[in-house]
Symmetry: C2
Subunit: 392 residues, 2 copies
C-alpha cells in the first residue's frame, strides 16, 4: 500500500461548524512547535486567557480553553460542579440539552428535565416552576444557542432565575461566543463553555470555558474527587492557573493554541460589538433573500440565532441530494438537520469568517440554482436584490 | 490593550515531548479546514486508521485517535473497561503509573498496586504474585515506556501474564509508538494508548488508541454506562467506526488530523523498522558521547529507552539554570525531572524528528559547553568523536 499527503478540497463552510478559517489563523497554527512549558509559550497562554475574558465579557480569573472539543468543555463544567445525588434542572429543546442530561446522569447527578419543543426557546416559567418544586436544586443548565435548531434562549432571564433560587447556572455557548452577546459577568453565569470552530472561526479542537468565583468555591469544597482526571479543574489549574509557575498536567495542544490566539487577536481587532453587529446584519440579508425566494425559517423571528439559520426544506426536495450537489458542484457545505429535525431542515451557518456578504450571496445563489433544478416551488430572481439592499 | 500575532522562537526540542515537528506536518495542518463529515475528510480518516494499525502493528478494527492529548487516551482505556468494583493491577514505577492508579480510582475500580523503584522496570514476578493472590483481577495496567524515568518494561512478558490469569491488559505506549517496537497483536495487548507529540513527531493534541476484539466485547457487555460521554467508545464508534456512514458525535479536530495523517505517511514511507533502528542508533551515539563526557544514566543499560534518556545531573550543577541557559543561548529544550526525580535528572528526548545525528551532536555540544561553564567534573573534547564513530 502507498499513502499520499492529503490535500483537502476547497470548501465554503456554511454548516453548523466548523466555519471558514482565515489564512491568518491557518498560518499561525503552522508556526514551529515549542514546548508546552516554554517561557514564550506561557506568555502566549496568558494572552489567550485575557482574550477569552474579552470574548466571554468577564473578569473571571478561571478562564481558559479546555484541550479538547466543545463536548469536553461541556463535560468539564458538569463533572467539576456535580457530585453524586446533586439535582440539576436541565432544559431540553434540542440535541445539546439532551447531551447535558446525559452528562448529569453520568456524573451521578439527578436531572430534572424542563422540556420545550424543538424550535422553541426554553420557557422561563417552566424553569421557575421546577425551581419552586425542587428547592434543593444545585444547578440550572441550558443552551443559549441551540445548534441543532437555531434557537436562542435568554441567559439574562434564566441565570437570574437560578440566582433567585440559590442555584448555579451552566450555559452552553458553543455557537454563541463571538456571534452574539455573551455577557458572563452581567448575567451572572457560573460556568459556560464554547467551541473554537464556530463564531471564533478557529480550527476545531478546543473548548473555551470560564467559571465564576462562586463556581470555583464549589469546586474547591467538593467532598468527592472529580470523576475525570483529565478534566479535573483542581489539577488543570496547576497548568492554566495564575502566576508564573506552571506545572505539567497534560501536554497542551501547542499549535492549536497558536491558532486560537490568532483568531482571538482578530476578534479583538475587529471589536466584539462589531462582530455581533456583523453577524446580525448578514443574518438579516440572508433572511430577506430566503424569504424573497419563498423559503421559511423553522424558528419564530423573535428567537432566531443570527449565526445559525434553520430553514424548512421545501416539499418534494431530496435533502441529501441537494446538500451533495451544493458540495460537489459549488464546494458549499450546508448542514443537515439532527434528531427530530433530520430531513426537515437545513442548518445554514453564518459564523465568524463565514458571516460575510460573499457568503450570503453565494448561499442564496446556490440554493436558488439547485432548488430550481429540483423543481421546488420557489420564486426566482429576487433573492440577491433583496439581500443586497441590506448588505450595501 | 493591543495584541500581536504570536511568533514563537525557534527551538530544538529534546525534552520528553513535544519533539520537533517536520515542516511537512506543519504545512499539512495549515491546509484549508473542511467539515468533519465531508466525504473527502472521511476518506482521510480511513487512511489514518490504517496507518495507525501499522504504527501499532495490529489488525484491530477499533483503532483511531482520541480527539484530545495522551492523558485523555489513558482515560478512554480505563473509563471504558472498568466498572465499579473491578479490580485492576496497576504497576507503578514512575509518574504515569501513578496517573493510572488515579484513573482506576476515579472510575470506581479497586487498584492493586505493584510498585517498583523509580528508574527500575516493572517486576513480572511481583505482578504474577499479585495475580495469584487476586484471581478475580480484571485488568493488568502498566507503562511500556515510562516518560518520567526513561525505563522500558517488557509488554511481551506482562501481557502474556495477564492472559495466563484471564485478565485484560492496558498499556501506556505514549512515548514508545514509532520509537521502538510496539507489537500489539504479537503481544496480545487489549487496550493501548499513545500520544502524537513524541516519536510520531506530530503536534500535540491527539491520542491514538487501539482495542482488541476481546476488549471491544467487554465494552459492549458493560452493565453501566461509561462515566464520560465524550470518551464513551460505544458512542465515538458512530463517528470513527466501520462503514461509509459516519454520524456526528463531536466535532473532530480536523486540522490536527491532517497533521497526524502526514506524520503517519512519513513513518510509513520510512518504514517502521527503520524508524526503530534510527532511534536505537542515535541513542547509542548519545550514550557513548555522554559517557565519554563522564555523565551517567539513571537507568540500567538493559532497561533504557532509546528515545528518552534519563541522565544524572552532575553534583553541584544548578538544574534549572542550566536548562534555562540551554534554552536561551542555544534554543535547546531538554526536560526536567518529575516527582521523585525532580532536580536529580535531565530527560533528553531523541524522539521522531528529534532523533537525528544533528540532534545528538547539538545536545552533546551544548551540554559540554554549559557544564564546563558550571565547573562540573566532566571530560571535555571527547564526546563528539565518540558519537561520530557510531553515527557515521
Amino acid at each position: 500500500m502507498t499513502f499520499q499527503s492529503f490535500n483537502p478540497p476547497l470548501r465554503t463552510l456554511m454548516g453548523p461548524g466548523p466555519s471558514d478559517v482565515h489564512p491568518r489563523v491557518l498560518s499561525a497554527m503552522a508556526r514551529p512547535t515549542v514546548g508546552h512549558l516554554d517561557p514564550s509559550f506561557i506568555g502566549m497562554m496568558d494572552e489567550v486567557k485575557t482574550l477569552l475574558q474579552y470574548a466571554f465579557q468577564t473578569e473571571n480569573p478561571l478562564t481558559f480553553p479546555v484541550s479538547a472539543p466543545g463536548s469536553a468543555g461541556m463535560e468539564t463544567c458538569f463533572a467539576n460542579l456535580i457530585e453524586a445525588g446533586d439535582k440539576v434542572i436541565v432544559c431540553i429543546n434540542g440535541v445539546f440539552g439532551m447531551r447535558m442530561k446525559e452528562n448529569v446522569e453520568r456524573c451521578g447527578g439527578i436531572p430534572i428535565v424542563v422540556e420545550d419543543a424543538w424550535g422553541r426557546p426554553v420557557d422561563a416559567n417552566k424553569v421557575e416552576d421546577a425551581l419552586k418544586k425542587n428547592p434543593d436544586v444545585k444547578i440550572v443548565a441550558f443552551v443559549q444557542a441551540e445548534t441543532s435548531t437555531g434557537v436562542h434562549s435568554d441567559p439574562a432571564v434564566l441565570c437570574k432565575l437560578a440566582q433567585n433560587y440559590g442555584a448555579l447556572s451552566i450555559v452552553d455557548a458553543v455557537t454563541s461566543v463571538g456571534g452574539m452577546p455573551v455577557l458572563v459577568d452581567e448575567w451572572g453565569v457560573d460556568a459556560i463553555y464554547s467551541g473554537t470552530q464556530k463564531c471564533l472561526s478557529c480550527v476545531p479542537g478546543l473548548s473555551p470555558v470560564t467559571f465564576s468565583p462562586r463556581a470555583m468555591e464549589v469546586m474547591k469544597q467538593r467532598k468527592s474527587k472529580v470523576q475525570s482526571w483529565f478534566l479535573d479543574m483542581n489539577l488543570v489549574m496547576g497548568y492554566w492557573g495564575e502566576g508564573k509557575s506552571r506545572s505539567y498536567h497534560h501536554t497542551a495542544p501547542v499549535n492549536t493554541l497558536y491558532a486560537l490566539h490568532e483568531s482571538l487577536v482578530m476578534l479583538h481587532n475587529e471589536g466584539i460589538e462589531n462582530a455581533w453587529h456583523r453577524h446580525a446584519k448578514n443574518h438579516l440579508a440572508l433572511k430577506v433573500g430566503l424569504e424573497a425566494m419563498g423559503l421559511r425559517f423553522a424558528v419564530d423571528e423573535a428567537h432566531r440565532l443570527p449565526q445559525l439559520n434553520a430553514i424548512v426544506i421545501p416539499e418534494g426536495v431530496d435533502d441529501a441530494k441537494l446538500r451533495s450537489q451544493a458540495l460537489e458542484r459549488f464546494g458549499l457545505e450546508i448542514g443537515a438537520g439532527l434528531g427530530a429535525f433530520a430531513g426537515k431542515i437545513w442548518r445554514i451557518g453564518l459564523m465568524g469568517q463565514s458571516s460575510s456578504p460573499r457568503h450570503v450571496i453565494m448561499c442564496l445563489t446556490v440554493l436558488e440554482s439547485l432548488l430550481s433544478d429540483a423543481k421546488a416551488d420557489i420564486e426566482c430572481g429576487k433573492a440577491i436584490d433583496a439581500a443586497q439592499k441590506i448588505l450595501f
